[in-house]
Symmetry: C2
Subunit: 343 residues, 2 copies
C-alpha cells in the first residue's frame, strides 16, 4: 500500500486564489508506457479512496489490463496521500486547508501526466463517484487530449440534492464538539465520525439492497454488524475528519461549468467534450440518480448512457459486487475498442 510515487507540484495556486507551497500529488502506475505513448489510461480516486482502492478494476484479462495499458492512478488532493489538511504544514494545515475545486484536481493531474511522462493523448479517463466528476473535468479541461471517457456513478455537476445529502454528512461529523472547528488534537471526533457513517449508510446502498439484506453477500451477519463493521469501520479507518471535509467541499462544488472559459454554463461545457463517452449511472443510486446522467448525456455529442442494473445503488461502482464489476469492465472493453473522439 506504500508503493506510490510523489510528484512535486511546487507552488500550487488554486482556482480560488490560495497558494499551497510545496504541494504534491501521490500517484501510482500499472503497466508500461508504450513507445508512441498511445496506451495511457487515467483513473482518479473517489471520496476518501486511495490508489489501492481502485485496483479491483485493474488486472490481466480485464479491460484495464496492465499488460496492454499504462494506467495512472493519481490520488485526489485532500485524500491524505496527496496534499491534504492532514499533511500540509501551517499555516494552510488542517481547518485552514484551502478549497480545492475539481478543476484544481485536473490542473494538478495534467501537470503530472505531461511533465513527468510527456503524454499528449489519453486513451481513456475513467472513475467512480468523485472519480467520475474528475473524468468529466478531464474531458472538459483538455478536450484535445482525451480520446474516451467512462464516468460511472458520478456527475459533471453536483446536483442540489446531492449537495444536501452531503450537508447531512458534514453536519453529523461537525456536531461532535470534539471536532472543535477542525482543531481537534490527537483524539479524533469518533462520535461524529460514527454518526457520519450512519448517515452515509442509508445513502450508499439502495432501499432494495437493505430489503434483500444483501450485506450478507459482503460477509456481515446482521444489520448492526453491517453498520458497525462496514460503515463505522470504513470511516474510522484512518480517514482524517479535515480531509473528509476538504474532499466534501470539492464534491459539493463540482461543476464542469465552472471551468475557466465557461462562465458557469454547464451545458456548454458538456457540449465541448470531444471524447467518445459511455456514461454509467447505477439504476438505484440515491445521490447520482440515472436521470441526472441522462440529462448530461443529452448535452454531449458522442455519448451513450448505459445504466448499471441492479440494487447496489451507488456502491455498484465500489468493486464489491461481481455482477456490477463485470458490467463496468465489459463497457470499458467495448469503449476502448471504439474510435476515440479525436480520430
Amino acid at each position: 500500500m506504500n508503493d506510490h510515487q510523489i510528484f512535486d507540484l511546487g507552488d500550487f495556486t488554486t482556482q480560488h486564489g490560495a497558494t499551497l507551497r510545496g504541494a504534491f500529488l501521490a500517484y501510482t502506475t500499472y503497466g508500461e508506457l508504450n513507445a508512441d505513448k498511445s496506451n495511457v489510461i487515467v483513473y482518479p480516486t473517489w471520496y476518501s479512496g486511495r490508489h489501492w482502492d481502485n485496483e479491483w478494476l485493474i488486472g490481466r484479462g480485464m479491460a484495464l489490463d496492465p499488460d496492454q495499458y499504462f494506467i495512472i492512478v493519481p490520488n485526489m488532493l485532500g485524500n491524505g496521500l496527496s496534499s491534504s489538511p492532514s499533511n500540509t504544514p501551517a499555516p494552510y494545515d488542517r481547518a485552514r486547508f484551502p478549497h480545492i475545486t475539481v478543476h484544481d484536481q485536473i490542473v494538478a493531474q495534467h501537470k503530472l501526466v505531461t511533465e513527468v511522462f510527456g503524454i499528449e493523448r489519453i486513451a481513456l479517463v475513467t472513475g467512480w463517484s468523485m472519480g467520475a466528476g474528475q473524468t468529466y473535468q478531464w474531458a472538459v479541461s483538455h478536450p484535445e487530449m482525451v480520446e474516451r471517457i467512462a464516468p460511472f456513478c458520478g456527475s459533471p455537476r453536483t446536483s442540489i440534492h446531492n449537495f444536501v445529502f452531503l450537508e447531512g454528512v458534514k453536519s453529523a461529523l461537525t456536531a461532535d464538539s470534539v471536532f472543535a472547528g477542525g482543531w481537534y488534537g490527537e483524539q479524533w471526533p469518533t462520535t461524529g465520525l460514527r454518526a457520519l457513517a450512519r448517515v452515509y449508510a442509508g445513502w450508499g446502498f439502495s432501499q432494495a439492497f437493505y430489503w434483500e439484506k444483501s450485506w450478507e453477500e459482503l460477509g456481515y451477519t446482521s444489520l448492526e454488524d453491517f453498520l458497525v463493521g462496514f460503515w463505522e469501520g470504513f470511516f474510522l479507518d484512518g480517514r482524517d475528519p479535515n480531509n473528509l471535509l476538504a474532499m466534501l467541499w470539492t464534491w459539493q462544488n463540482g461543476d464542469v461549468g465552472r471551468t475557466p472559459g465557461f462562465d458557469g454554463d454547464t451545458e456548454a461545457a458538456l457540449a465541448s467534450i470531444k471524447a467518445t463517452s459511455i456514461v454509467m449511472p447505477a439504476e438505484k443510486d440515491l445521490y447520482f440518480p440515472p436521470e441526472d446522467e441522462e440529462w448530461a448525456v443529452s448535452h454531449m455529442t458522442n455519448a451513450e448512457l448505459r445504466v448499471i442494473p441492479g440494487i447496489w445503488g451507488h456502491f455498484a461502482g465500489h468493486g464489491s459486487n461481481p455482477k456490477d464489476t463485470a458490467f463496468i469492465d465489459a463497457a470499458l472493453r467495448e469503449l476502448l475498442a471504439k474510435p476515440g473522439g479525436l480520430d
Copy 2:
C-alpha cells in the same frame, strides 16, 4: 392550537412491560358524532406532528368534511401533547420514557374511541407517514371495527432501509455532547437538532424536487434559506429531543406483525385486514418507496395501490403541495363512497 381535550389513560402498561402511571392522550375532534355513530373518522398524527398539523386535510367540501363526519385526531404518545418524555414526571421522564410500540398507540386510541365516545365502528382511518403506520395497526388490531383505511406515505412495517435512514437522523442529534444522553438541561442540543434537520432535508423531498428548486413554491429564496428556514426551523420549533427520539424508536420498530397473536408474521397480519383499503405511497418517496407498499397490498385482500404522482417525495403527504392534497382528498372521497370491508 390549545383546543384539545385530555383523556386519562390511567396506569398504562406498554407492550414491553413498563407502566406509565397517569398516562394521557391529548386529542381533538371535528364535527359531530351522529346518532348511530356511523360517521367516525380517526386520523392519527405523524412524526413530531401535532393535531393541528393534520388540519390541511379537513374542511367543508373536502372528503374529511366536519359537516358530515366526526373526525378524531389523537396525538401520538411521545409527541409532547400526549404522554411524552417532556411531560412525564420522574422516574419515567426524559431519557427514561419507556419504549412505545405502534401497537401501544392503538391500544390507547382504542380506549379513547370506545370509552369516551362508545364507538363500535370506524368508517375510515387515515394518516400520513407514522400516521399511516398507525392506520395499518388499527386495521390489524381491530379488524371488526375498521371499515376502511387510507394510509398514505407510510408502511405496515418499517423497512430496514427506513430504519437505517432513522439511524442517521438519531446519530446526528446525539453526536452533540449537549444532548448528554438525554439529560440536557434548559439549554437544548441545538447543534444536534440542526444537524438532524440537515440530514432529514435530503430524505424528505426527492432528488427531482431539489433539481427543480421547488422550495420556491413554499416561499424560500435559496437552498440555504430552505435548509435553515424550513428544515432547521421545523426541528427547532419546540420539538423536544427526547420526544423526537421516543417517536423515532416507535417508528423504527413499527411492524403490524408484532401485534399480539401474529408472532412476527407481517404477511399474516396484513392478510387479516378486513377494511376496504386505498394505499397511497408517493412516487418519489425515498424512505417509503412505492415498491414497499406494492408488497403490502399484495398481501391484503381488499386493497388498491394508488401511487401519488410527482416529485414532492415523502412530503406529498404534508399538505404543502395543492396537487398532492387534491389527489389524496379525491381518493378519500372515493373510498368513503365504497362499501366498507365489514358490510
